[in-house]
Amino acid sequence: MRKRSLSPSDRLFEWSIDLFLVGVLVVTLVPMWYVLMVSFLPFGKSPSLFLAPWDWSFEAYAQLIFQPTIWRAALNSLVLTLGGVAISLTLTVMAAYPLSRRELPGRGLIVGLILFTFLFNAGLIPTFLVVKDLGLLNTYWSVLLNGAVSVYNLLVMKTFFQSLPESLEEAARIDGANDWQVLWHVVLPLSRPILLTIGLFYGVANWNNFFEPILFLSDRSLMPLPVVLRDILTGLNVAEYVEGTAAQAAPAEALKMAAVVLITLPMLLVYPWIQRYFTKGVLIGSVKE
């Protein structure tokens, strides 16, 4: 991104740099493009990177879109994603704000207790037993609560709150506002960027989450999209998602790839925002000096 210079070796350098970047672009995009092409595959054609547009068939999409199971899974995903963001963000803000107040007695001890859980994890089975003993198995609460607070996000938010000018909070307190009012009326309005960033962090993680639903839920009607996609891709319980007629309407690989495309689509729609806030977020929280 700096000024061009003209010597032949520098020109060669620029050429190789640009060639490398184009290479990265090709390696990133070709697999995704191929998925799209296979999803358009009609019967009797073999898949190709350059399937002619007049051969494109949308039959696989038509078959999937009219499956009630897909819509139920989409609804489940929506509930888990939005519900998860609401719970996670509330808990994270309510824990981060008190811990950002240096004068709070016992603050160091509490931060230490939380940090320890980041460094040492008791493991899968002991956690599973907790969820089981709470009677949360096969309910959404298991998925929503188990991963509700990320220590990393909590610490990033705490650092952000600490960086806000204290004079504003001080002024509100002198006017008689209590801690909740200060948080709600002074701190949160100033924290919109960090709330969006961390909300997106939680949202993406929830939307992509497939392991905890598999671990905690047994009722198939509760499963979110990634779990359904996994079943379609591995050919498990396919009959549940696509009716017998679908297999006659579109090739199996077209159905699989159409499912991949459909489930990626919502992520692609919010990706412009995600990219804007995430790249900032990763730098806010990357290292502590």
Partner: protein, 315 residues
């Protein structure tokens, strides 16, 4: 006031002051309570449950009521055939991911920083971050499209060249490379961000001075950009070593299958199968605890070293 009471009050003075201070911040503690409960229930209660690593856990008797067996499960695991295999798979996959993941990320960061084509730079950034946000299930779908023996793009190519198709995801020879390279494909763009940030923080005057002194672009990269990346590189490598036992549970959980257990099974996937599918709760807990303890030591040491060498640290 009665002197005796006054004296006893003075004795309790420290405690009373403390309680008064705590009372003054009661609203903040109240605010903290839900988060604290979360950590107690979902992070510290499991710690208590982890005692079943030293017990013969029977669901009817519960965690506390099950009989102690000492280090039995640890001994069983260490002397079992699985121990060496799981540790080897975990370390091989982890180390390969670090060794093959960091160089492309550095190259990409340097290329993004050096190119004079802003549009190319922007579009490469946008597209190369994208896979980071895709679930491993979606990446599994993409991998099937590329690698499936019957319909995969690469096997179409092999067949066109007159070669035998390769079952990449179910062959013990190719499974580990698939795991490592798919991680590189998914994460290179994202890992480049940290390196790019380090490059952008280098004082531009250094490059200008070098250019005036006749340094070629390559020499500028060699003598200004690369040294400028060293601190971040050391930090990234150390922190990755700190979590070296995490070889990518979710990824392998989605990608592996019975034919490739011998090369694809890592500590985490084995714990899942033993515990959740075979109901060997105590054994699985013992192995998970073993991994957690090693992980704790590694990350604390890595963090110390990072702080010593770069002045930065994770926590």
């Amino acid at each position: 006031m009665n002197p005796a009471i006054a004296k006893s009050l003075a004795g309790r003075d420290g405690l009373a002051t403390l309680l008064r201070r705590i009372w003054r911040y009661r609203l903040l503690y109240l605010m903290l309570l839900p988060g604290l409960l979360y950590f107690l229930i979902f992070r510290y209660w499991p710690l208590w449950n982890a005692q079943i690593a030293f017990k013969d856990f029977q669901p009817m008797l519960g965690v506390w009521g099950s009989p102690w067996v000492g280090l039995q499960h640890f001994q069983d695991f260490f002397s079992s055939y699985y121990f060496g295999q799981l540790l080897a798979n975990t370390l091989i996959i982890s180390v390969a991911k670090i060794a093959l993941g960091i160089p492309p990320a550095i190259l990409l960061a340097i290329a993004l920083h050096e190119t004079s084509r802003r549009f190319l730079s922007r579009i490469v950034q946008t597209m190369s971050y994208l896979p980071h946000f895709l679930s491993w299930v979606i990446v599994y779908g993409i991998l099937l499209a590329m690698l499936s023996p019957s319909e995969g793009l690469i096997n179409h190519g092999l067949r066109a060249l007159g070669l035998e198709p390769i079952p990449f995801l179910t062959s013990t020879a190719t499974f580990q490379p698939v795991v490592v390279l798919s991680e590189v494909w998914k994460e290179t763009g994202w890992s480049a961000i940290l390196f790019l940030a380090a490059l952008l923080s280098i004082n531009p005057a250094l490059y200008e001075a070098a250019a005036i002194d006749g340094a070629s672009r390559w020499q500028q990269v060699r003598h200004i950009s690369l040294p400028g990346l060293m601190d971040v590189l050391v930090l990234v490598v150390l922190l990755k070593i700190g979590s070296i036992l995490d070889a990518g549970f979710h990824q392998i959980f989605v990608l592996y299958s019975l034919p490739v257990y011998s090369v694809g099974d890592i500590i985490d996937t084995w714990v899942y199968r033993q515990g959740i599918q075979n109901f060997q709760f105590s054994l699985a807990t013992a192995v998970g605890l073993f991994k957690g303890l090693i992980g704790l030591v590694l990350i604390v040491v890595a963090n110390r070293l990072a702080r010593r060498f770069t002045g930065s640290s994770l926590y």
